[in-house]
């Protein structure tokens, strides 16, 4: 087993491909029913009549799917200790039923924390694209990481 990625292993400019996720019609409706029950996230006709132009996933759903890809792609094999928030999130295009989303993460900045010895802040930029290569969502995400993995 390889050691988890720690603060010292990340450098600005590094890029991680996080894999892909197919968004089904059923899942769009299931997520929206629980968290965002607006008509254009629940119903084809209402979606078609809206700015979105078709049944489209809640933006919170796109963000949650990207979170899953980031957790499984990098964070769960790292010393990540959570995130204080999200900056500049843009929902740039609708995500429609059947879309296959692909996410990538780029390291923007790394900064040790004086207030929390042993931890550092890493700012990541997330980009989520659809199967046509169009960007559907971007955001910046600072997160805390342990400085070194325990077994190094």
């Amino acid at each position: 087993m390889t050691a988890p990625l720690a603060f010292v292993d990340f450098t600005p400019g590094q890029v991680f491909e996080l894999g892909s996720y197919e968004v089904s019609r059923e899942e769009i409706i299931e997520f929206a029913s629980e968290f965002d029950p607006q008509p254009f996230h629940l119903d084809e006709e209402a979606g078609a009549a809206s700015i979105l132009g078709g049944l489209a996933a809640s933006g919170w759903h796109t963000a949650s799917i990207t979170m899953r890809l980031l957790a499984l792609g990098v964070l769960n094999s790292s010393t990540c200790q959570g995130s204080p928030g999200i900056e500049k999130l843009l929902w740039r295009k609708p995500v429609y039923a059947g879309d296959v989303l692909t996410a990538r993460m780029e390291i923007l900045a790394v900064r040790p924390l004086r207030s929390k010895p042993g931890l550092g802040m890493i700012t990541m930029r997330l980009e989520t694209m659809n199967q046509s290569g169009a960007m559907v969502m971007t955001y910046e995400n600072p997160a805390l990481f342990g400085m070194r993995s325990n077994n190094t």
Partner: protein, 160 residues
């Protein structure tokens, strides 16, 4: 939020209601969308600075959205029953400054509030305007746990 863009005033404030986070729903959300150890088990969370199981920040955000939409739908039903017009709300182009200020633990009750902080006419979509909001989540001890600045399209009265 059922009023037309022109009729919404900066400073308008609305209580959206509250939600108590159960262990089951925290784990169910995390398994599907945020499978990091501190969202899945107490034992794993105890090894981090969180100390105990806490909700995914995206779940805290999702519950905000649910309460916002439910509030809007209740106001809509009331307006329609009285024969009053209801303005359409569109999607959101994005958000800024989302902060997960404190963890949300099992059994915490979060109350959400939305304040209108600005308005922008849309040049590209003249039948819509953008409403800017500041959104807060506060736990049962009165501590802020969640915040973000929202931007949402709202229908204009004079351009229908």
């Amino acid at each position: 939020m059922i009023r037309y863009f022109e009729d919404i005033a900066i400073g308008d404030e609305m209580e959206l209601g509250s939600h108590t986070f159960s262990r089951e729903e925290i784990i169910r959300f995390a398994e599907k969308y945020d499978p990091q150890p501190y969202h899945l088990s107490d034992a794993a969370a105890a090894r981090t600075h969180f100390g105990k199981l806490c909700a995914s920040g995206w779940q805290t955000a999702g519950i905000f959205m649910r309460l916002l939409v439910q509030k809007k739908q209740a106001l809509e039903a009331e307006a329609k029953a009285q024969g009053n017009p209801v303005a359409l709300t569109g999607p959101s182009p994005g958000l800024e400054d989302l902060k997960w200020i404190k963890p949300v633990f099992v059994g915490d009750t979060i109350s959400y509030r939305r304040i209108v902080s600005g308005k922008t006419e849309s040049k590209s979509r003249p039948e819509w305007g953008l409403i800017h909001g500041e959104n807060h989540g506060i736990n049962q001890n009165g501590e802020s746990v969640f915040f973000f600045k929202s931007n949402v399209f709202q229908q204009r009265r004079d351009r229908r």
